[in-house]
Amino acid sequence: MSPTITTSSEANGNVSSATARAAASAAANAEEAGPQPVTMAKALNTAMADAMHADDSVLVFGEDVGMLGGVFRITDGLMKTFGEQRCFDTPLAESGIVGMAVGMAINGMRPVIEMQFDAFAYPAFEQIVSHVAKMHNRTKGRVKLPMVIRVPYAGGIGGVEHHCDSSESYYAHTAGLKVYTPATVADAYRMLREAIDSDDPVMFMEPKKLYWSKDLVDLDALRAEYGRQADGREATEGRAAVARSGTDATLIAYGPSVPTALAAAAAAAEEGRSLEVIDIRTIVPFDDATVAASVRKTGRAVVIAEAHGFASVSSEIVARIQERCFHYLAAPIRRVTGFDVPYPAPKLEHHYLPGVDRILDAVDDLQWED
């Protein structure tokens, strides 16, 4: 039998100083190389590797995540580096993957599991809704489930049916789940580290069309910063980011829609209109304060999301703004979302996805004449 591993999770009673050690080592390794072009895929991969170095109880498993490194290569090299006991392929069964992860989390591990595509996660829905979301509450906090369910989600890649769903609303609607969705390379690293360190279960929604997008990022500095500030670090959980400052109207977006919103704001600037862009970052918990402060300042808001608009995260955001900013609004809040149709075939998806023009049309509609 291969060598055994030790557990150092603090969640269900085990204690470790591994995190502190790894933080110190990451800090020592940080070079002054400065910002480089880094993909979101690389940032996510690095986050998992760093978390696995920091804590032996972090395990990565799912379909094709081992030898292949995942169909998107996000787990590339983890099996080689950490061995088949800590990064491994499972039988092809999503409920099995999530259910087994629940048991592992009960017994001291921190599983980070991959649902290969958004729509492939649906067989696991019962485990997620009935157990992942409820175990902590049901046991009055005695059993914590520190697990991360990574979901490559949303469209824009010309994918076939069942590969492009925006499934975040199902999870956001479920009490007991935290729902993160990064939109930048730096956030992808920070937020995945935070999700793995969280004692709450996190649905980690990865905008798959952004996997290969690059930002200029000093990854080593980011790693060192995460390690240094392990205690008392300003968490991204529950903190939206002001992705672009502006004064005339607020665009609110998350995950795959953030770059689109930023492009729309850049285009609007050429026309002399100053748009602020808010990146929600964590749908649950939601940062009401940052969103409300921006809308109170600008008086106008457009909410942008790829998902169908009906009964969705975007409808929730509109409702929350209305409750908090009614007297500050100069115009009704607009939404630019996917149509209420099944995700379209590749040749039609550009009609479905919120684009710059549709966003600017909505901005134009915000009763500027008054």
């Binding site: 629940v102 592992m104 906090g141 005695r142 959980e237 939601f286």
Partner: protein, 419 residues
């Protein structure tokens, strides 16, 4: 064809087909290899259940001759010791009293609901007694007696049915999963607990419980397959009580038996008389021993009967005949055990009275504990949703606190008006 539970050997399958003997040596491990070597039986004969269910004490309470117990080479079960059997009998009597007391409390409106295991107590007790202290159990909603037999306080075990919270005991402290309502989902949690223990090099065995209806669920398949592929020490214990609420077994499965499903996963299966606590202990004790020694998972199907309705909300007369129920009354697990132990001189009137007294004490504890009006704290609604709470729940908590404060103030001012 050889059935493999060991993925590491898969690569060798793609090349030249090895000779059958080589294939068995390559693909099988643990108990199957031992059985092949020791008993000269095939791996399939080891994995398939014995031709007949294992029964050691018949329904009249007489020990059956060894040749009639259902044992076969590779399926040998030694008779458990008297001390273990007397302890099991005591638990059986307590379990029956717990079932009947709880049903009475439901009728009196003291509990919301109680899915009774009346008639299945032998399965309940054997499931608890076969495990060592560090082992885990994952029960269903009908397994309260097994949960109590593992040492969980009866009142804490009944909290789930009393209506003040969805779970009453600490699963980590007792190594007993919360009684699971969504069918079969707990089997995967059992697999995960076993997997984590194995990765840490611990020798924990996990017993995962479900019923006959649950074997139709997808998670049953996924759990058995995962446990087999990862070669985990999990015992899948199916209480086949013949009905999934109203639907009889014949509508769930046309497999030769539920235990036969084991061979499809490359694990060993066995059938046992679920109302014979002697046979149950013999089969489960051996399964635990094999699992701990590295056999990988096992599947045990116990034939038993749900003597009462699914719950108090169910009407069993709509789907089964009294004559069928009467047949099972004759197979009651308590009466045959009492006769067997009395005949053997292990149990006498004094012992019987002592056990009855103990059962009555537990019943009194249930009546008292569940009779109390439990004060529920409305703020508990928000306290445990997350380990790190959200601002939204803090706001909702404040809203409820304000409502309650105004209600309380209103009640006081009404009192003053009345004066």
């Amino acid at each position: 064809m050889t059935i493999s539970a060991d993925r590491s050997a898969r690569g060798e399958m793609s090349g030249d087909q090895p000779a059958p003997e080589q294939a068995e040596a390559t693909y099988l491990s643990g108990a199957a290899v031992d059985a092949v070597r020791k008993f000269g039986i095939t791996a399939e004969d080891y994995m398939l259940p014995a031709r007949h269910q294992i029964q050691m004490v018949d329904q009249e309470g007489n020990l059956k001759h060894h040749s009639e117990q259902g044992a076969e080479p590779g399926h040998e079960y030694p008779l458990p010791g008297d001390e273990e059997l007397l302890a099991a009998y005591e638990q059986l009597v307590v379990g029956r009293r717990v079932n009947d007391q709880n049903s009475a409390l439901v009728r009196q409106g003291r509990m919301a609901v109680y899915p009774s295991s009346h008639g299945q107590e032998a399965c309940q007790i054997a499931a608890a007694l076969c495990l060592a202290e560090g082992d885990w159990m994952f029960p269903t909603y009908r397994d309260a007696v097994a949960v109590m037999a593992r040492g969980v306080d009866p009142i804490e075990a009944m909290t789930i049915f009393r209506g003040d919270w969805h779970g009453g005991y600490d699963p980590l402290k007792h190594k007993v999963g919360i009684q699971c309502t969504p069918l079969t989902t707990q089997l995967l949690h059992a697999v995960g607990v076993a997997h984590a223990a194995k990765l840490r090099g611990e020798d924990t065995v996990v017993l995962a419980m479900c019923g006959d209806g649950a074997t139709s669920e997808g998670d049953f398949h996924e759990a058995l397959n995962f446990a087999a592929v990862f070669h985990l020490p999990v015992i899948f214990f199916v209480q086949n009580n013949q009905y999934a609420i109203s639907v009889p077994l014949a509508h769930q499965s046309v497999a030769p038996s539920l235990a036969h499903k084991a061979v499809g996963y490359g694990m060993a299966g066995e059938r046992v008389d679920g109302n014979d606590v002697v046979a149950l202990l013999a089969v489960l004790d051996r399964a635990v021993k094999l699992a701990r020694e590295g056999s990988g998972p096992l599947l045990v199907e116990a034939h038993t009967y749900r003597m009462q309705a699914h719950t108090n909300a169910d009407d069993a007369t709509r789907y089964r005949q009294d004559t069928e129920v009467a047949q099972w009354v004759a197979r009651d697990p308590l009466t045959r055990m009492k006769k067997y132990l009395t005949d053997k001189g292990v149990l006498d009137d004094g012992g019987d009275a002592r056990i009855a007294e103990k059962a009555e004490a537990v019943a009194t504890q249930l009546r008292t504990g569940l009779g109390e009006d439990v004060r529920v704290d409305p703020q508990d609604l928000f306290k445990h949703v997350f380990a790190t709470p959200t601002p939204q729940l803090a706001q909702q908590s404040a809203l409820l606190a304000d409502e309650l404060a105004r209600d309380a103030a209103g009640a006081i001012s009404e009192e003053e008006t009345d004066k």
